[in-house]
């Protein structure tokens, strides 16, 4: 009980009361002792704890780190020295409620668990739902395409095109979202395979130099000269990442240039560390935005970048993939100046021989300008007439015409009569081969020894071959089959400037940006109206459509060029086969090897990779003196080759089997009962043997023959049953006719 002596005392007391109120209501317990261990103050909590005997001055003096259980809470003692300036000496103990802390921690833990569950549910949901989400969109796209193939009005076509394009956009968005979810759920897997990095480089170079030039930007590639040519890794995703960053560079740069660097940082233990840097002079990234640059759905600087399209997922996905590859992706940027994205990854080395830079460097300098060459004499020497035609076609597109020699000896003769500026010499030829011919030609004159350029054509693409051939005396080498971009690079390198006439840019080059993951690179687009025919032909020839497109490009670019090649090939086919048979049956395996080598080139140029592989096996067997292999497999090779030639004749050249009689129109003479019966008997016997393929053949033969309407009706009915392979119905019909 307090006795108020005077006003001051009253005031003091009031102040003390407030103080006490405060000190008694904090959650900590406070106890102060002097240097002798006497309690000089304690708040109500401290008092209560001490009264329970749970804590005391002795603990305080000895700084006992005690934990006290009181009133359902746990307190920990904390000790501080009293501020000596105040005149007091001693220690103050603060008893802190640690359960309160742990309560918070517990709550945090619970919340985190909830969040993680929610996240993983979302991720699993997306990963599993992806099929359900994509299927309806595919259906929309598919239906749109079917409708576009039908006869519809122009108005409708426009609308359906819109539907189709929108569906593709939607699909792209969904794919991005699903990919990101999959990555976040930890369910994304890399697809590893061996690949040639030169294709990636070439593709990027072609695409972005064009896109950059359209915005009046410069695009330059800088490649180290020791990049391994064949690597193992996830080529598609790596390419996707680079394309993503490059697209951003183009999008966000209004003027200036974009540089693309590929550096080899290190080669160790069969792995190469590659660094890709994409540097632009674009709008840059603000400092405060840098942290979130790889976040999903983040878009920055909306005011300045309002017109730039995008969903903001690209970099997040890119980072996801690079993380999966164990690489790093970093960005440096200065707002208003430009940005630099650096991707560093490790890839396994499959072939360390360096990437052939000539393709890239040549294009780099001239940036897609078309040119023709004048006053330049070309000689092509090859024992294979198809190759001669192909080469002629190729050089024609540069305004040149090639003289042709079908063997080494002829080439030498022609060189003695004419001064050629450049000679393309096939390495493998019978009698006088490429190397011998070149040596003889060099001996003709000083000019031929020192100035004439002789280029060897070889199918051997192994490392070291180039050096060896150049040592022999060739100026350069080109791989067979001859590809137009390599020829162009060679011309740019070798033909003197004063013979080159540059034309304007070709506006019909149409290269498309892909943000999705396309599988195979085709250097240039094939003519649009021929694309459908090419699909059909590829399907009928049983070859890959992509390979076929490339081959067509290689022999001139249009289907007619391809047909010309095929015509020659098919004309020579029986001869080739005879030669193969002859050389094998007389045991002349050296001859056989040369013939099968020619066959390999021939089918490869038409796109029949399967048969080319087979022929290569034979060629290798011949070289290794494995005669048994050749004997065992020569008929199989001939069978496959013949089958392919037949298909080419039918589907590419449109040659129908010559013995078949007049077309079926149902307007001719009716057949006699006996005639119909004979065919039916044959069909019945084929049914017994289950030779259904032959029944189809017979019915087709009959269809092409002249007959009256009643006869036609009879056979049409049979054909219908056969098309459904309803054998019971067929038997019944045949029974009635016999």
């Amino acid at each position: 009980m307090k006795i108020f002596k005077n006003e001051e005392a009253k005031k003091n007391n009031a102040a003390n009361t407030v103080k006490d109120l405060l000190l008694n209501n904090i959650i900590e317990g406070l106890i102060a002792v002097d240097e002798n261990g006497n309690v000089i103050y304690s708040n109500s909590l401290g008092k209560a704890i001490m009264e329970e005997g749970l804590f005391g001055p002795i603990d305080i003096v000895s700084h006992n780190p005690k934990e006290i259980n009181y009133n359902g809470k746990i307190y920990r003692a904390k000790y501080d020295k009293l501020n000596e300036e105040s005149g007091l000496k001693g220690t103050i103990a603060t008893l802190e409620d640690i359960l309160g802390e742990s309560m918070v921690a517990k709550e945090v833990k619970e919340l985190t668990e909830k969040l993680e569950r929610a996240n993983s549910f979302k991720a699993a949901f997306f990963a599993n739902m992806s099929h359900e989400i994509r299927t309806p969109i595919h259906a929309i796209i598919g239906s749109s395409e079917i409708m576009l193939k039908n006869d519809i009005s122009k108005e409708n076509k426009e609308q359906i095109d819109l539907i189709k394009d929108s569906s593709y956009s939607l699909l792209a968005i969904i794919n991005d979202v699903l990919d990101l979810s999959k990555i976040e759920a930890g369910k994304m897997e890399l697809v590893l395979s061996n690949y040639f990095i030169s294709y990636v480089i070439r593709d990027i170079e072609a695409t972005y130099s064009l896109l950059a030039s359209r915005k009046n930007l410069k695009f330059e590639m800088h490649l180290d000269n020791n990049i391994p040519s064949n690597l193992n890794g996830d080529k598609i995703r790596l390419r996707g990442v680079l394309i993503n960053i490059l697209n951003n560079a183009i999008k966000f740069t209004k003027e200036g240039k974009i540089d693309f660097f590929i550096r080899v940082l290190e080669k160790k233990g069969g792995m190469v560390t590659l660094q890709f840097e994409i540097k632009d002079t674009g709008i840059g990234i603000k400092k405060e935005d840098m942290e979130r640059i790889f976040d999903s759905f983040a878009r920055f600087d909306i005011n300045n970048n309002y017109s730039v399209e995008g969903r903001g997922l690209g970099l997040a996905i890119a980072k996801g993939y690079i993380d999966l590859m164990g690489g790093t992706i970093e960005v440096k940027s200065e707002y208003g100046v430009g940005s630099s994205f650096i991707v560093t990854v490790n890839q396994k080395i499959v072939d360390d021989s360096p990437v052939d830079m000539s393709i890239v460097n040549a294009r780099k300098n001239k940036n897609n300008e078309k040119f023709t060459i004048r006053d330049y004499k070309v000689l092509v020497a090859d024992d294979n007439p198809i190759n001669l035609t192909v080469a002629d076609g190729l050089v024609k597109s540069y305004g040149l015409s090639a003289d042709k020699a079908s063997g080494g000896a002829q080439a030498i003769n022609m060189c003695m009569a004419t001064k050629y500026d450049i000679i393309f010499m096939d390495q493998m030829m019978p009698e006088v081969d490429g190397i011998q011919a070149m040596r003889q030609i060099r001996k003709i004159s000083d000019y031929y020894e020192k100035e004439c350029k002789i280029i060897v054509l070889t199918a051997d693409a192994m490392a070291g071959v180039r050096d060896r051939l150049i040592n022999e005396g060739f100026d350069e080498y080109l791989c067979k089959p001859l590809e137009i971009h390599r020829l162009e690079a060679l011309f740019r390198k070798i033909v003197p400037q004063d013979h080159i006439v540059i034309e304007g840019e070709d506006p019909s080059d149409d290269i498309v940006i892909e943000e999705s993951k396309a599988q195979v690179e085709v250097p240039k687009e094939v003519k649009k109206d021929e694309k459908e025919d090419i699909s059909k032909i590829a399907a009928n020839l049983l070859v890959s459509e992509e390979i076929l497109e490339r081959k067509i490009k290689d022999c001139g670019g249009s289907l007619d060029d391809y047909r010309a090649i095929c015509e020659i090939a098919t004309n020579h086919a029986p001869n080739k086969i005879s030669k193969l048979r002859e050389s094998q049956s007389t045991g002349d395996y050296d001859r056989y090897t040369i013939e099968v080598h020619a066959l390999k080139t021939s089918v490869a140029s038409m796109g029949a990779a399967f048969i080319a592989d087979m022929a290569r096996d034979h060629e290798n067997a011949g070289k290794n003196q494995d005669h048994q292999y050749i004997d065992d497999n020569v008929e199989t090779l001939i069978t496959e080759y013949q089958g392919f030639i037949d298909r080419v004749k039918k589907h590419v050249l449109g040659i129908d089997d010559s013995e078949e009689v007049a077309k079926a129109s149902g307007s001719g003479e009716e057949w006699t009962k006996e005639e119909i019966r004979q065919v039916c008997i044959k069909i019945i016997s084929l049914i017994e043997e289950y030779s259904f393929a032959e029944i189809f053949d017979i019915l087709e033969k009959v269809e092409k023959m002249e007959k009256g309407p009643k006869t036609k009706a009879i056979f049409d009915k049979l054909k219908k049953s056969m098309n459904d392979m309803d054998i019971d119905a067929l038997r019944k019909q045949l029974g009635e006719l016999t």
Binding site: I577, I638, T639, Q678, A693
Partner: protein
């Protein structure tokens, strides 16, 4: 019958009463093949009985014994039954074609003889024949006839393909014949593929016949669990000629071990 060895030249028998034409044949064919010529149908039958013949070029219009009669006689001999025969005729009438369909001619050429066509046709026949005896038979089962024909087309150069589009037909076939390999599509109505697999499993004659299952990507995971007998191999549709051929070769090789 003696083994056909790839090391020896192929032997072609030409039957025609016109000497001049026989000379032309010799001119075109002799460098590559062994050529025998006779001017009468009966001599052809005698020859075939004595010498191994790989191909016969048979003129249709001949005195005494014409092409059809010769062919019928030939087909009734053990040696002559399997030799490929090409009819050579100056006219192309319906009669000839019909007769040839029923009588069993393998191809025909029109006169006058064109060298390229001759070589091409001869080659085609020889190619077909040489592989027939050693060819394996593939039983292809799918309810989709169009796809069956595509498969047949892909494989007919190297294999003998039997197309089957229903369980009933398959069972009919299997009760009389045994294929070397079975190619089956998983997606068939009424779960037929499972039924068939069960049937195949129970036939001891088919113990050594490998089964390759064609599945679509969606089916792949379900298939393994649902099937009563596990196929020897799977192929994902759409299937390329290379994939299917490789799989067939490797599956057959494994079965031989």
């Amino acid at each position: 019958m003696s083994e056909l060895s790839s090391n020896t030249k192929k032997r072609i028998l030409i039957v025609d009463d016109d000497q001049e034409i026989l000379d032309i044949y010799r001119l075109y064919l002799e460098p590559t093949y062994i050529v025998a010529t006779v001017s009468h149908g009966q001599f052809a039958i005698d020859y075939v009985n004595e010498y191994r013949t790989d191909l016969i070029l048979l003129d249709v219009v001949m005195p005494v014994m014409d092409g059809f009669q010769t062919l019928q006689a030939l087909r009734s001999t053990p040696e002559g039954a399997k030799i490929p025969v090409i009819f050579v005729t100056g006219k192309s009438s319906r009669n000839i074609v019909l007769e040839s369909i029923s009588v069993g001619v393998d191809g025909y050429l029109l006169k006058p003889i064109v060298k390229d066509q001759l070589l091409s046709k001869v080659n085609e026949m020889l190619v077909r024949q040489s592989s027939v005896s050693s060819r394996k038979t593939i039983l292809a089962i799918d309810d989709d006839v169009t796809y069956l024909r595509i498969l047949s087309n892909m494989l007919k150069d190297s294999y003998n393909v039997v197309m089957i589009n229903s369980v009933k037909l398959a069972m009919d076939y299997l009760s009389s014949f045994t294929p070397d390999i079975i190619l089956m599509d998983y997606q068939m109505p009424l779960n037929s593929s499972n039924t068939l697999l069960g049937y195949i499993k129970n036939m001891t004659s088919l113990d050594n016949v490998p089964v390759i299952m064609l599945v679509g990507i969606k089916d792949k995971n379900i298939v393994v669990d649902n099937l009563v007998k596990q196929p020897d191999s799977y192929l994902l549709k759409p299937v390329s000629k290379m994939d299917i051929t490789r799989t067939i070769v490797s599956v057959l090789r494994n079965k031989q071990k």
